[in-house]
Structure formats: C-alpha cells, structure tokens
Subunit: 147 residues, 2 copies
Amino acid sequence: MISNKAKYALKAMTILARHHSKKMQANAIAEEGQIPYKFLEAILAELKNRGLVISKRGAFGGYVLGEEPEEITAGDILRVIDGPIAPLRCASVSGYQPCDDCEGEEICAIRNVMMDARIALSNVLDQKTLKDMAKFERGRKESIFDE
Amino acid sequence: MISNKAKYALKAMTILARHHSKKMQANAIAEEGQIPYKFLEAILAELKNRGLVISKRGAFGGYVLGEEPEEITAGDILRVIDGPIAPLRCASVSGYQPCDDCEGEEICAIRNVMMDARIALSNVLDQKTLKDMAKFERGRKESIFDE
DNA sequence: TTTAAATCCTAGTAATTCAATAGGAAATTG
DNA sequence: CAATTTCCTATTGAATTACTAGGATTTAAA
C-alpha cells in the first residue's frame, strides 16, 4: 500500500504532465487534483529537493516538471515520497539495508521471494512514465466525451 | 514495505514447512526464527483464524500447517497479516474499495499503473509456495555445508 | 486427579508514522 | 511598495506498529 501522500504526488505530477509541462501554481494543482493545499506544498517541496519539479517563487511563480514527461517514472515519484519500492530493505537496491537478525542473505527464502517481487514491481513502476500516464488520461477522457 | 509482523509470519511458516509440517510449539518456532515469543503468539492466532495453521492446545500441543506446503503461498500469508497486496485499494481484488475522491476508475492513470503493479506482484507472491521456500533454504544450507 | 505444559484471550503501551494544519519569512513581479 | 506566491519551521491528532503482561483455558501425563 502506498501512502495518501504518494497518491497525491502521482496525481500532482500527472496534472503537471497533462498540462504539457506548463508552469502551474500549487493553487491550481490542488484544485484540479482535490489535494489539500498545505499538504501539497509539502509534497512539492520534497519533489523539488529531488529535482522532479522546478519551482519559481514570487508573484506569477509556480511549478514545472524537472525533466521531460517521458523521463520521469511512477517509480521515481514513489521512491521520493514513500521510499524504497522493495517489500523488504534487504531486497532493495535504492534503500538496501540488511535485516539486523539476518543469518545470511543467500540462504534466506523470504529475501529470495522479495527480490523477485521487487524486480516484478520495478519492471512496472520504472517503465511507466508521466507521458504514458498523461496520455492515458487524455485518451480516456476524450473517449468518454465521444459517447 | 511489509511489516515486521509479516516478515515474522513468513519466517514462522517457512520454519513449519521446513520441518516437514511436523507439529511444533510456538516456543521452538520463536527460538529458531528469533521471533519475540508473545508477538509470535499473536501472529499464529491470526494465521489460525484464517486456517493457515492448525493448533492443538495443552501439554504437548503445538502448531501444524493448515494446508499442504505446496498449497500455501507467500501471498496468502501476506494478505492475512498486512492486508491487500495491491498498492492501492481501488486496484485490489481481495480488498477492493474505491478512493473517496475518485472521479472515475476507468480514466484514472494512477489506478491503471497500480493495477499493473498488483498483477505483477501477485504473479510472484501467489506463485511462491511454502514448499518452494522450504526447498530453497534446505538447498542453500546444504550447499553451504558442502563447502 | 493433580500438575505441568501449552495455547488462547484481553488489555495495554511506548514509539513511530500518517495526514494534515498554522503562521509567517523570503522572493518576485508589476 | 504591494500583491502574490513559494519556502520554512513547528505542531497536532489519529492511526499503526511492535511489542509486553497477565491470566484463563485446555490437554496429557504422572
């Protein structure tokens, strides 16, 4: 399960991508995504620290994607907000840490399973880009208006 | 990330499986798995309620697997202890619940990603059985003794 | 039938994380 | 300078996590 915060982050980033990476204010993102404004500010701050968005302060400021929509993946965003994707740290690449009660990683069946899980999961999450996600929503919304 | 509790549950169940489903006491499982005894009791109670283990009370009591090791998967155990494995409830089969701010599941790119993630994850977790896990540990341990 | 050995059951607790909110400082533009 | 917007610090209430305590109940063997 991902946190609400992560869900909001994904939402905010897809909104930014859907608006074709034009500058948007937190205000507008919050409204469009139904995200509590102050909470969103905190989320954008974290995304900014990791370079996933770029901000401009002051009047007529706002936020822009830090990279091209096809270069930012769901995995990138989730790692910033919720930390490692692997179900266990000992099976993580980005956040590796051994279990303190570990008796040997090579013989641990649990780690073995979780390594497979991490690989399967990151194959999905690191492949899905913001471009894909924005396109998906645009496509679906249009097809609904067509009806 | 799975909880410590879930890790302990997986550990306890693989121990039970490795001992070829012989009756074991919580005591012995706790020692072998380095699991806090009282915590393990609570875990075994949950597993028992869902039929994953069968218990016998009183002197010379203990716990046995509730099904054959090849019929119990890592996914089964994780769902009992940590709940749904999907990253979002709206993408879950076992624990489906719509987001309260949902504007249409068919057009939601986040749900779309999380559905793919859930499928990838459950393909791994629902395939790995206790038999596989016990075999893995036995195999690895023997090969280490061979050195 | 007592007694020792187990599981079972109810409660509680300290620490952490989650999901925000509040208030104002700093920067930018017109 | 004034309005707008991001940035920073800090707090808070609720839930979850990771356990622990203590005793009730059941069972088997002496």
